[in-house]
């Protein structure tokens, strides 16, 4: 399937342009958040005021931040597609998320404790259900095709891509908006800081591997995918391997690894790397998110479209890996985006230059 277009929101703003700028500019220190009276941590938070499409916002005044981020990204993806009129086009929506509306869910539970069951807000409840973000995309953009939310810790985005491919292959949809969304919250920050290694200086060190440091992030990336091709399509998603052995194929030009400190020890990534293939990692630009693979996948798609190899934003390299250390023009054919989960299962997204 082809990536026809994309849209995104993240810590440095809204839109693909903001992400391209960030890839050029490199690492920037994240903000500090006080998540409890005595604890502070770094976090890559999204500023909702950067959402440019006010017409979209007007249609979702009751939505929580998670849904607003997802709709803003999906709306941009559809807007960049060149499809002027979606009437008569069968478009599906698949939203991937590891933790979904956890912030709103905790707010709902807090309200039950504070006010009792009879005085909790129905709006908070409706926003706390997992399919809320996908439903908002459907309502705001007027999409009438199938809508689904895939929740899974580390491989939700890869699972969503596989589902999208099967919907396209069985002609259930002509186009699919498939993407990921995660939201930062105090509870998440507390858990990540307690169970994992909090970065002492706000830097994720993607090539350090062990110990691995995390900085929570939030944002959303959406792709419009289709088996059709268009002049402006970014690239082709050739294969998505998930919990299965990867087919032996030609050597990629670049490996993008999803190291972001959400595994305490990321040494397992070394198994998938080769000294003669450059490796890149972009998590220091957007933060640690279990569905962060979508952001690295977008970086890969932009590299293929722009014929540009983007330098890894943080380049501490104690193991002497062959890393992408400079931004250079390069005609790239094939990129592997690699993610491991805590059971050391591997997922790979293979991106190929549009033919």
């Amino acid at each position: 399937m082809n990536i026809i277009s994309a849209g995104m929101v993240f810590t440095r703003g809204s839109g693909i342009g903001s992400f391209e700028n960030a890839l050029h500019e490199g690492w920037r220190i994240p903000g500090e958040v006080e998540y409890s009276k005595s604890n502070k941590s770094f976090a890559y938070q999204f500023d909702q005021t950067t959402i440019r499409d006010k017409a979209v916002l007007k249609k979702m005044r009751r939505a929580d931040k998670l849904s607003k981020m997802a709709v803003a990204a999906a709306s941009e993806a559809l807007g960049n597609s060149g499809i002027d009129d979606i009437r008569g086009k069968n478009i599906g929506i698949i939203t991937a998320t590891a933790l979904g509306a956890q912030v709103t869910t905790f707010s709902f539970l807090d309200d039950i404790i504070e006010y009792g069951e009879s005085s909790v807000s129905p709006t908070t409840f409706s926003n706390s259900v997992h399919n809320a973000a996908a439903s908002y995309i459907s309502m705001v953009l007027g999409i009438r095709g199938p809508v689904m939310t895939v929740t899974r810790f580390f491989f939700s985005f890869q699972s969503a891509l596989q589902l999208a491919q099967s919907w396209l292959n069985e002609s259930r949809c002509e186009f699919i908006l498939v993407g990921a969304v995660e939201q930062y919250g105090d509870v998440l920050a507390y858990i990540q800081d307690t169970k994992l290694n909090a970065s002492p200086d706000g830097r994720i060190l993607p090539f350090n591997l062990n110990p691995a440091y995390q900085v929570p992030g939030e944002g959303s990336v959406f792709f419009l995918v289709s088996n059709k091709d268009t002049d402006t399509a970014l690239c082709n998603i050739e294969d998505v391997y998930l919990d299965t052995y990867e087919k032996e194929s030609e050597k990629p030009d670049v490996n993008i690894i999803d190291t972001d400190g959400l595994l305490k020890d990321e040494s397992v990534y070394a198994e998938s790397l080769s000294p003669d293939i450059p490796t890149a990692a972009y998590s220091p630009v957007f933060g640690s998110m279990m569905s962060g693979s979508a952001f690295n996948c977008l970086a890969g798609a932009l590299m293929l479209r722009n014929r540009m190899l983007y330098a890894s934003p943080v380049q501490d390299n104690p193991h002497g890996l062959n890393i992408v250390d400079r931004t250079v023009s390069r005609d790239i054919e094939l990129i592997r985006c690699i993610r491991y989960n805590c059971y050391e299962n591997k997922a790979v997204i293979c991106l190929r230059k549009k033919q």
Binding site: L57, R61, Y115, S118, S119, V120, S121, P122
Partner: protein, 98 residues
């Protein structure tokens, strides 16, 4: 109604306007811009049925009032003024009952 009552009613109106803007996430409008007699639903402020349920929650949380029969008490939800009078009268009743 005495001076104290008038002042109390004005305070309730102000609080209700602030709560509505905040809890109903009303955009492009400030509490000061909501008129006391502005129709809340449909044409006026443009609220809908889900907002009505949220207003019931607002009354419960902030004024300790339980609107049990929403269907037959639509008059309460007509405007800020009608809501404020309902809050004012209910408080007065509870004080005199006590």
């Amino acid at each position: 109604m005495g001076t104290e009552g008038v002042q109390d009613l004005a305070r309730i109106r102000k609080t209700l306007k602030e709560l509505l803007v905040k809890d109903l996430s009303l955009e492009d409008i400030t509490p000061e811009e909501i008129k006391d007699d502005e129709v809340l639903f449909g044409e006026g402020l443009g609220l809908d049925s889900l907002d009505a349920v949220e207003i019931v929650v607002i009354l419960q949380r902030n004024f300790g009032l339980d609107v049990k029969d929403m269907e037959n008490r639509k008059d309460i939800f007509y405007s800020i003024d009608s809501l404020a009078r309902y809050v004012f009268e209910s408080r007065k009743d509870s004080v005199s009952d006590g």
